[in-house]
């Protein structure tokens, strides 16, 4: 029997994936464990291995095409099996019953169409996947024409990305009534249109344009699409509010300087952010609701403190943002945290973080201090209930012990989910943080 290689679910949130690159071609022999493709998920690009020995009979999913988790991306002929026959065999998704093949040369399968049941829908679609022709259900095609919906702008939600009735209805609703279909303007220039909608979710709406202004279209990468979707979700669903506090940074900077000098030989270089991570993590012991998630009818207090660290990717490499995770940060020393954050940063900027590196954050820190930003606010990284935005430690006039003097200060702003955390709770957390940051020897034990 031909073996189907399906789009794997590489993360909890992954619904679709893109084969960025095939490392094999039809006819190649592969061994179990061999990497055959790079798969771009909503979070990272990962290597996909096969679990069987065999010969590649068919590459169902072309490079660059986004398909749903579970859809067949390649067909493998088992050792000794005829590769051509395997290639023409129906690609059955999951555990579905055998379906008749579309060609008479197909191997013998049950002549009767299996009674319709759940997963079989995917099968026939998988057979039909080739080329670039959009798959559209007949009624969806007719409705698109009647309602003036441009099929090229619609993402299909049916099996194999088939555009079905509800996608057209949604597209028409999103676009707003009575707006003409996207105009056939210049290929890469967006034609001006007076209609506007909030297309920030990267959904199915047509391109936004500014009247009288020519614009260049930049395709949205998977990562950019995920950032857009998740942050729109976060801002729309989470009742955000912010609470700020300034911390005196003199002591922490002095201690950091001393430690870095003493540990220079060991190539340890602690950053201010490493101290903040440790401080945030330790404060969780007294403030469990900052390490929590809103779950609709209850709140989940996470029993592990995993601090997410926002990492900006270099613009010359396409930019973007990922969150690396320091697990059990409350149980790790400054030195361990520092080492892990550095490794995560380098990995993110070079080959990319793995799913393991990015999953499981229970609280997130975003720090723009290194760019000289004095303060800013961040959007909560779901399912967290809070995020801390740190500015730079800045030397400035301050009042200490009723005296005007020069000191170092850093502004920190918490963005909070009001469903989980109230204002006074936020203030108390910041007080705890202030205590730890301003008396940093507490961070050493």
């Amino acid at each position: 029997m031909p073996i189907n290689v399906t789009m794997p679910r590489l993360s909890d949130t992954m619904e679709q994936g893109t084969v960025v690159k095939w490392h094999v071609k039809v006819g190649d022999k592969v061994a179990s464990g061999q990497v055959i493709a790079d798969i771009e998920t909503d979070k990272a690009t990962m290597e996909q291995s096969v679990f069987d020995d065999g010969t590649i009979a068919r590459l169902v999913c072309p490079e660059g095409k986004q398909v749903k988790v579970g859809d067949v991306i390649a067909v493998l002929a088992e050792d000794g099996e005829n590769v051509d026959a395997a290639a023409s065999a129906p690609a059955t998704g999951g555990a579905a019953a055998a379906r008749p093949a579309p060609t008479s040369s197909a191997p013998a399968v049950s002549a009767a169409p299996a009674p319709a049941r759940g997963p079989v829908v995917a099968d026939v679609e998988a057979v039909a996947v080739d080329g670039e022709r959009a798959r559209v259900s007949p009624v969806a095609r007719r409705m698109a024409q009647e309602m003036g919906v441009d099929l090229a702008q619609v993402a299909g939600s049916g099996p194999g990305g088939r555009i079905v009735k509800r996608d057209i209805v949604l597209a028409a609703e999103t676009r707003g009534a009575a707006v003409p279909a996207a105009r056939p303007g210049a290929q890469s220039l967006v034609a001006a249109s007076a209609s506007a909608d909030s297309g920030a979710s990267g959904g199915s709406s047509g391109a936004l344009a500014v009247a009288g202004v020519q614009s260049v279209e930049v395709p949205v990468t998977t990562m950019r699409g995920v950032i857009a979707r998740r942050l729109v979700e976060s801002k729309q669903q989470i009742p955000h509010y912010q609470v700020s506090m300034k911390f005196a940074m003199d002591a922490i900077l002095a201690m950091r300087g001393q430690l870095n000098q003493q540990l220079a030989a060991l190539e340890v270089k602690l950053s201010v952010n490493d101290f903040i991570i440790r401080a945030c993590a330790l404060a969780m012991a007294r403030h469990p609701f900052f390490n929590a998630s809103w779950a609709g009818d209850r709140i989940l207090l996470h029993q592990q403190v995993n601090i997410g660290v926002a990492i900006a990717l270099p613009e010359e490499k396409g930019g973007g943002l990922v969150v690396g995770v320091v697990r059990d940060a409350n149980l790790k020393s400054l030195r361990q945290i520092s080492g892990e954050v550095r490794t995560l940063g380098e990995k993110a900027r070079t080959k990319g973080l793995s799913m393991e590196d990015m999953s499981g954050a229970t609280f997130t820190i975003s720090n723009l201090g290194m760019f000289g930003v004095d303060n800013f606010t961040a959007i909560i990284n779901p399912p967290n209930s809070a995020i801390l935005a740190c500015g730079a430690a800045i030397e400035q006039p301050v009042v200490r012990d009723h005296q005007l003097c020069v000191g170092w200060e850093m502004a920190a702003t918490l963005s909070l989910d009001h469903r989980v955390i109230d204002g006074a709770m936020a203030a108390k957390y910041l007080q705890s943080l202030k205590e730890l940051v301003e008396q940093p020897t507490l961070l050493l034990v």
């Binding site: 009674p115 319709a116 049941r117 997963p119 829908v121 969806a140 095609r141």
Partner: protein
């Protein structure tokens, strides 16, 4: 008063036959045990007493013989009703019922019609095993010249059987042992139900369920369950598969854009596949998904209760098919 009258499916059949026999002296009933034993399933109870042995005739166990005799009688102007204890047994009478009855008018150049009704139990009766559980509509609907009625309830059974008896063509009338005891409203006043008129027995907006005979009840069960899940089904009881009221189904599918056909015969070359094909043809631009079909499994009918249940169409399979057809998996 009569609006409230509820009778069993078997009584509706008997009323239809008796009324037509009182109305037309040419009508007669023959079959195994229909007279002295009052019918193997008590459909013809009391008919021997009323109509006597010349019109209610016990036959030997020889379907080929008495089916052929009925056809000959019909050619000579009588209007026989033949009861097959099970349609499974009609297979031994294949030549008279398939090769003679439906072709007689054509082959005689219009000289001999063949006004005969063959009726009996069709489909799995409940642990009757592979050879006694036939759904003969899968085979017989392929033959031109036959009318096939497959009622799902007492009201339709009576109205359709009277129409069958009065007509001038051979009719295969398919009942179900599992439904003979079903009660339903049947008015006392006379009525007939024309062939080729489907009934929309539940209105809905999201998916059309088209069926006939016993599986109609499974469709209603499934529609009830699907309603709870937020999927609204329109259920159509075709009532006759030849002629097939495609118009009613098409009107419904144009509204719902999705269709599931439920047919308890096997899937390959069945009335269900024919209906699906016609829907694809007439509703091509109206469909949001291919027409899904629920049939009996493509194996001989199992004897074991659990296997037989799993073999037949049931509400769970129908729910799954509708969810698939409407992209609600």
């Amino acid at each position: 008063m009569s609006a409230l009258r509820e009778i069993e499916f078997r009584d509706a059949l008997r009323e239809a036959m008796s009324e037509e026999m009182r109305r037309d002296k040419r009508v007669m009933l023959m079959g195994e045990e229909v007279a002295q034993y009052n019918g193997a399933y008590k459909v013809s109870r009391g008919m021997l007493d009323e109509f006597g042995p010349r019109r209610i005739i016990d036959t030997p166990i020889s379907e080929s013989g008495f089916a052929g005799m009925a056809i000959g009688a019909a050619m000579m102007g009588l209007k026989p009703i033949v009861e097959f204890m099970s349609w499974s047994f009609s297979l031994v009478a294949a030549d008279p019922i398939l090769n003679n009855a439906p072709k007689m008018l054509y082959m005689s150049g219009g000289q001999f019609g063949c006004s005969v009704v063959f009726r009996g139990n069709d489909g799995a009766g409940g642990q009757l095993g592979s050879t006694h559980s036939w759904c003969v509509e899968g085979l017989y609907s392929n033959v031109p010249g036959i009318k096939i009625a497959i009622p799902s309830n007492p009201y339709d059974a009576k109205g359709l059987l009277k129409t069958s008896i009065r007509g001038s063509d051979p009719v295969f009338f398919l009942e179900s042992e599992r439904m003979l005891g079903n009660k339903g409203h049947v008015p006392e006043e006379e009525y007939l139900i024309p062939f080729g008129q489907a009934a929309v027995i539940r209105e809905g907006t999201d998916c059309t369920l088209a069926s006939w005979g016993r599986p109609v009840h499974f469709c209603m069960e499934a529609a009830e369950e699907l309603q709870k899940q937020g999927i609204s089904c329109e259920v159509i009881d075709l009532r006759t598969v030849r002629p097939l009221d495609i118009g009613t189904v098409v009107r419904s599918v144009r509204k719902t854009n999705a269709c599931v056909v439920v047919d308890q015969s096997w899937s390959f070359g069945s009335p269900g596949s024919e209906l699906a094909s016609q829907v694809h043809r007439h509703c091509f631009d109206d469909l949001d998904n291919y027409v899904h079909r629920v049939h009996s499994a493509d194996v001989p009918t199992p004897y074991a209760t659990n296997l037989e249940q799993e073999y037949l169409p049931n509400a769970r399979k129908i729910v799954e098919a509708v969810r698939s057809a409407t992209y609600n998996l």
